[in-house]
């Protein structure tokens, strides 16, 4: 298991929920929890993943997501069991939509 943490600069978001959770930790899937973070202009991500050695890909996937979404002021917790980047992006999108009440 790998434990990874990342921080990305991001535009502040306007949350409409205290927290949102999407997905289930199961083969090829993951859970994404978004809660309030410490820095309004940044996003902190903490990952537990069963797939070892993919830190650069996580970095790229998350940086891309952070570049396209106003994630500032959030903390993202991820428990992963080998989800592909496509599934990661999908779950991040679902969780973020819930967190912002449908506003993108």
């Amino acid at each position: 298991m790998d434990q990874l943490t990342f921080q990305f600069p991001a535009q502040p978001c306007k949350p409409s929920a205290k927290a949102s959770l999407c997905g289930v930790v199961s083969s090829g899937n993951l859970e994404v929890l978004i809660t309030q973070g410490a820095q309004p202009n940044g996003c902190e991500v903490s990952i537990h993943t069963s797939a070892q050695g993919f830190a650069p890909i996580w970095q790229a996937v998350l940086a891309d997501f952070a570049a396209h979404h106003a994630l500032g002021g959030t903390a993202i917790t991820i428990n992963d069991m080998g989800a592909t980047p496509a599934v990661v992006t999908l779950r991040l999108g679902q969780a973020f939509r819930d967190y912002c009440g449908g506003a993108q």
Partner: protein
């Protein structure tokens, strides 16, 4: 053969496919659910972490309170997709805590959405003890006059200790996709051989453990569609007239008689088809294809 006309399937949200969280939210009155020990602020199982496995923030079970038809209920929903919904230390303790809370808070009922293979092997001892505690807690809850309904229709069914727990509940509601048994077919196949139980023969697995068979045999009270809304409506209908009775010698005597009698009656049978034939079902091989309503009608016609 009297075939149904081609028809697109009903499009309600599938109970089988939904996650535990989706089941809870769709089963209870809208917006009424409050989760106890929600994922935010929770930590996942330290035992899994020790084994190098990622855990889930809810440890595979969602618990909380809400309303059903405006009445207060407590709810437990196991997540079958996470490690087979299996019971570990934290998972089990959440359920025990919820049931203790039921004894204290006296909700109208506890809804137990079972979706589990039983003990989580990664925490085997903790899981087994937790299951024993859940068994005792279910009986305590019922003894306090609060019904506990088991709803079975998820990907993992109810196996192992959770199969026992389900049968300790006041009533079981199952969809035909649901399975209820003790040992999983894979376990029996591994130990006793493929001739004893071919776990890849899924039609056989369902004829032995599936919702329709359990319903025909009276091991579950209600057969429902694989639709969260149907689970909701059936639960509401049952609760409307439910009276939870304290455990009595005579009821257990009656159950002892029922179980003994049927062991004699169906002794040596190994397939649902044989049992259904013995029950007097005219075309047993048609049972798997029957729609839910037709099966319910058929059962009402049997002298059980």
């Amino acid at each position: 053969m009297n075939l149904p006309q081609p028809s697109p399937p009903s499009r309600g949200p599938s109970f089988y496919e939904a996650t535990a969280r989706q089941r809870v939210n769709r089963l209870l009155d809208a917006q009424s659910f409050t989760e106890f020990l929600p994922p935010q602020g929770a930590h996942s199982s330290p035992h899994l972490a020790l084994l190098g496995l990622p855990g889930a923030l809810d440890d595979g079970v969602v618990i909380g309170s809400g309303t059903l038809g405006g009445k207060p209920v407590l709810i437990i929903a196991q997540e079958g997709q996470f490690l087979g919904g299996a019971v570990g230390e934290m998972h089990g303790a959440k359920i025990v805590g919820l049931l203790q809370r039921a004894v204290r808070d006296k909700p109208l009922a506890v809804l137990f959405l079972v979706d589990s293979g039983g003990v989580r092997l990664h925490e085997a001892n903790a899981g087994l003890i937790a299951l024993s505690e859940i068994m005792r807690a279910v009986l305590d809850t019922r003894a306090a006059g609060i019904p506990v309904f088991a709803l079975i229709g998820g990907v993992c069914g109810a196996f192992g200790g959770m199969g026992i727990v389900s049968r300790l509940c006041s009533a079981i509601l199952m969809s035909e996709q649901g399975r209820l048994a003790l040992s999983g077919p894979e376990v029996i196949e591994t130990v006793a051989g493929v001739e004893e139980f071919d776990s890849r023969d899924r039609a056989l697995v369902w004829r032995v453990t599936g919702g329709k068979h359990r319903y025909l045999m009276g091991d579950c009270l209600a057969l429902v569609e694989d639709d969260v809304e149907d689970f909701r409506q059936t639960t509401l209908a049952l609760l409307a007239h439910w009276e939870e009775t304290a455990p009595e010698l005579h009821t257990l005597r009656a159950e002892q008689e029922r179980l003994s009698q049927r062991c004699t009656q169906f002794c040596g049978l190994r397939d649902g088809l044989e049992v259904w034939a013995a029950l007097g079902v005219p075309n047993p091989q048609q049972i798997p294809l029957l729609e839910r309503d037709a099966l319910v009608t058929l059962r009402q016609g049997l002298s059980l």
